[in-house]
């Protein structure tokens, strides 16, 4: 799996893509695969503030609920309402299925580029074996 080079990644398996003054946030292909089929996505509201390293919302599979950690600190400018009715889009197209767009970004978590993230995922996979 090649990870897109137009964005950065976190060690908690989110991606963040900066475009036109906002940072779109989603979860990686590795993350969706680990979570399994998603059945619910819980997002913040427009105008809420999010903090780097803190949960911005959560996703639920049949078996479990998992936090989505915000890679950035800022204000929620938009949420992807499509995901509320179609959480499965996160599984089918994780790179396109953004959760929120954040404006006024003042801080970021430790971010990895695609190559570094891919190496990190390989390490995680090795640990699983």
């Amino acid at each position: 799996m090649a990870y897109a080079t137009d964005r950065k990644y976190t060690k908690t398996h989110e991606w963040v893509k900066t475009e036109g003054g906002t940072a779109a946030v989603g979860i990686t292909d590795y993350a969706q695969e680990q979570l399994g089929a998603l059945v619910f996505v819980n997002l913040p509201m427009e105008g809420d503030s999010v903090t780097a390293g803190e949960p911005l919302g959560d996703v639920e599979s049949v078996k479990a609920v998992s936090d989505i950690i915000s890679p950035v600190t800022g204000t929620v400018a938009a949420i992807n309402e499509t995901l509320l009715d179609h959480p499965e889009r996160v599984n089918s197209d994780p790179d396109e299925a953004w959760f929120i767009k954040v404006s006024d970004v003042t801080d970021t978590d430790e971010l990895l580029d695609a190559a570094a993230y891919e190496a990190f995922v390989e390490e995680e996979k090795a640990k699983e074996q």
């Binding site: 399994g36 089929a37 059945v39 619910f40 959560d58 639920e60 049949v62 078996k63 609920v65 509320l84």
Partner: protein, 361 residues
């Protein structure tokens, strides 16, 4: 140290993801909970449930023992049949729920839950009188569950007609399954037609592979505990530790038909009779708000705590989030609007009759 079933090494071959459950390392899923759940509803699934405990009960006083220690009545149980029962403590709370097979007169085979097996065995031993010999034979048995509308077709390719139990809750003993001495029981924990097979440990992998191979044309899917849980939830079958516990009575759990208050006596009867009509009851919850309701969440009615959820998730066949809860009887009538506290967020629900899914016959 967590135990492994004799099939542990096989899970990896089928992509099994392993979790800890009831003191055992078991597969939570293989291909995916959704796919496995749907395979059981529409075709056939195979589960390794060897973590379940097996106890033999033999002797002239075995029947009297069962009728004393269990809430159901075993007097009329015929050889080759099985009967479900809660087992109560003196307060009427549930020690465990189990199935008893009658192998022959004075010879019974009891199947109990993994996590409670040692507790059950100690409780049973403490109540044995006269000629009644118990033995914990759990480590000698493999239990596989072959479940789904195609389960019978799969077995029919391997067994003659007379080796297949025809009615639910009946069983055939000493069936020769390609050289393996097997108990074939028409039971399960999925709300679907199906079978549970018991046989000796050395043949574990051979029979597992045989069933998967034979089931392939029918779309068989190895299934994990995740699908086992969602399947039983849709069918509103209770799980020990969730819908049942030492502090929940079988009447509260909605298991009235397995409690024979007409029997002269059984452990827990006095407490159940004294308690009268249960003040809290098990209900189904339809999630009318947004969210997934899970177990052990508080249930509220207009600012008043009225109970807690016992199980809940998104269920793949009915395609919606569902839950079960123990709530005060005043709030139990079907259609009562309630709220569940989902990690600090109030999610609207409504009581709904159980089960959520019934197999079409």
């Amino acid at each position: 140290m967590e135990k492994k079933t004799p099939l542990y090494d096989v899970y990896g071959k089928y992509g099994g993801k392993i979790i800890s459950f009831g003191g055992y390392l078991l597969p939570v899923q293989f291909k995916g909970i959704m796919e496995e759940h749907m395979a059981v509803r529409t075709a056939v699934g195979l589960f390794d449930v060897s973590h379940m405990g097996e106890i033999t009960c033999r002797g002239k006083d075995a029947l009297a023992f069962l009728n004393r220690v269990l809430t159901n009545d075993y007097t009329s149980l015929k050889t080759g049949s099985a009967r479900y029962s809660p087992m109560c403590n003196d307060k009427g709370g549930i020690v465990d729920d189990l199935i008893v097979y009658k192998v022959a007169d004075e010879d019974y085979f009891i199947v109990v839950n993994a996590a409670t097996k040692d507790k059950d065995y100690a409780w049973m031993q403490a109540h044995v009188h006269g000629d009644c010999r118990l033995a914990d034979v759990s480590d000698q048995y493999i239990q596989l569950a072959l479940q789904g509308p195609k389960a019978e077709d799969v077995l029919r390719r391997l067994l003659p007609d007379e080796a297949i139990p025809k009615k639910p809750y009946t069983a055939k003993f000493h069936v020769d399954l390609q050289g393996t001495d097997t108990v074939v029981s028409r039971t399960g924990y999925t709300g679907e037609d199906g079978f549970e097979l018991y046989f000796a440990v050395p043949d574990a992998e051979k029979v597992w592979n045989l069933l998967l191979e034979t089931g392939r044309p029918y779309g068989i899917q190895p299934c994990g505990l995740g699908a086992r849980d969602t399947l039983r939830m849709e069918a509103a079958m209770p799980l020990y530790g969730q819908e049942m516990s030492d502090d929940i009575t079988p009447l509260e759990a909605g298991l009235d038909r397995f409690v024979k208050l007409t029997k002269p006596d059984f452990i827990g009867k006095a407490a159940l009779v004294a308690a009268g009509e249960p003040q809290r009851v098990r209900v189904g919850l339809k999630v009318t708000g947004r969210g997934i309701v899970r177990e052990h969440m508080d249930v509220w009615a207009a600012g008043k705590l009225v109970g807690h959820t016992t199980s809940g998730t998104y269920c793949p066949y009915v395609k919606r989030p569902i839950a079960m809860a123990l709530v005060d009887r005043d709030h139990a009538a079907a259609g009562t609007p309630l709220e569940v506290d989902v990690r600090g967020r109030r999610v609207a629900v409504e009581t709904e009759p159980l089960p959520f899914y019934t197999r079409k016959k």
